[in-house]
């Protein structure tokens, strides 16, 4: 089982190698397979006992989430664009805490980075499953605390 996982990792890495390369000559491909094996071996040495297993279902759930995130990014970018070009008095920076609905590491990191990626909200600290976010306006803080993003993330990678 473990060998199978390792093999799968090597195949995945080699696919990335092929997609980067565009150069398919035998010696380079042989060295490529060796390189992928070396990286997989180093990954094995770097692995932590407590680490989360990759969830293969993410492969089709994540793109769906990204599309939704892209929409959010468009909306919030336009909002912040107005704030940047408008008067300073429109700013009302505030710190809020957001509860993450899924508490595994990947989901927390995904939520934290999604909050940062939508301008107007910025993750500045994570404690257990509470994320402290710095918001540019009270309105941004409210929409963040409404929890739509947290629920989406929980659906992508549930505990």
């Amino acid at each position: 089982m473990r060998l199978l996982r390792l093999l799968l990792v090597i195949v995945a890495l080699f696919t990335v190698w092929l997609l980067w390369g565009g150069l398919y000559k035998t010696p380079v491909l042989q060295l490529g397979i060796l390189s992928c094996a070396l990286v997989a071996w180093l990954m094995l040495r770097m692995a932590e006992p407590d680490q989360q297993k990759y969830n293969w279902r993410l492969a089709y759930r994540l793109p769906h989430y990204w599309l939704w995130l892209l929409g959010q990014m468009v909306v919030s970018n336009i909002q912040v664009l107005r704030l940047v070009l408008g008067p300073r008095s429109a700013l009302s920076p505030v710190l809020v805490e957001v509860d993450a609905q899924a508490s595994n590491k990947f989901a927390l990191a995904l939520l934290g980075n999604s909050i940062t990626l939508t301008p107007g909200t910025l993750t500045i600290d994570i404690d257990d499953n509470k994320i402290t976010a710095h918001c540019l306006t009270a309105a941004a803080a409210q929409s963040l605390q409404a929890g739509a993003m947290s629920r989406r993330v929980a659906r992508v990678d549930p505990d």
Binding site: V80, R88, L117, P119, L122, T123, I124, T132, L136
Partner: protein, 116 residues
């Protein structure tokens, strides 16, 4: 390459670069450090998506597009991480956000001491 794709991709690239420019203005105009990160994050979110997306349209279905997609993917993963690390480093050094809510302030400081 037909004309319509050319025009759309050019428009995307220019639009994206305008967002990038707005991010630069934001980083310069915002009043304090934490709000400046917000300004700068305009550069890090939609700007690259539009610019690299536009270039991908131009390149069509090829290995160049895949490489651009890889660049975009890695940027989208690393830049918020960098912003978080930066904000956290500033917080750790005692740089406080302006106009902070009193209750959360206590919460943040406690957390910081626990983790250290």
């Amino acid at each position: 390459m037909n004309g319509a794709v050319e025009i759309v991709s050019g428009a995307l690239v220019v639009l994206g670069s305008l967002f990038v420019l707005a991010g630069g203005i934001g980083a310069l105009r915002m009043p304090d450090f934490y709000t400046r990160i917000h300004g700068a994050s305009l550069t890090d979110s939609l700007g690259p998506v539009l610019v690299l997306g536009g270039l991908m349209l131009q390149a069509g279905l090829s290995l160049v597009t895949i490489k651009l997609a890889a660049v975009l993917l890695f940027l989208m993963v690393t830049s918020p991480t960098a912003s978080y690390a930066l904000a956290n480093a500033a917080l750790l050094a005692g740089l406080r956000p302006a106009e902070m809510d009193a209750t959360t302030r206590a919460g943040v400081i406690n957390q910081e001491e626990d983790s250290a």
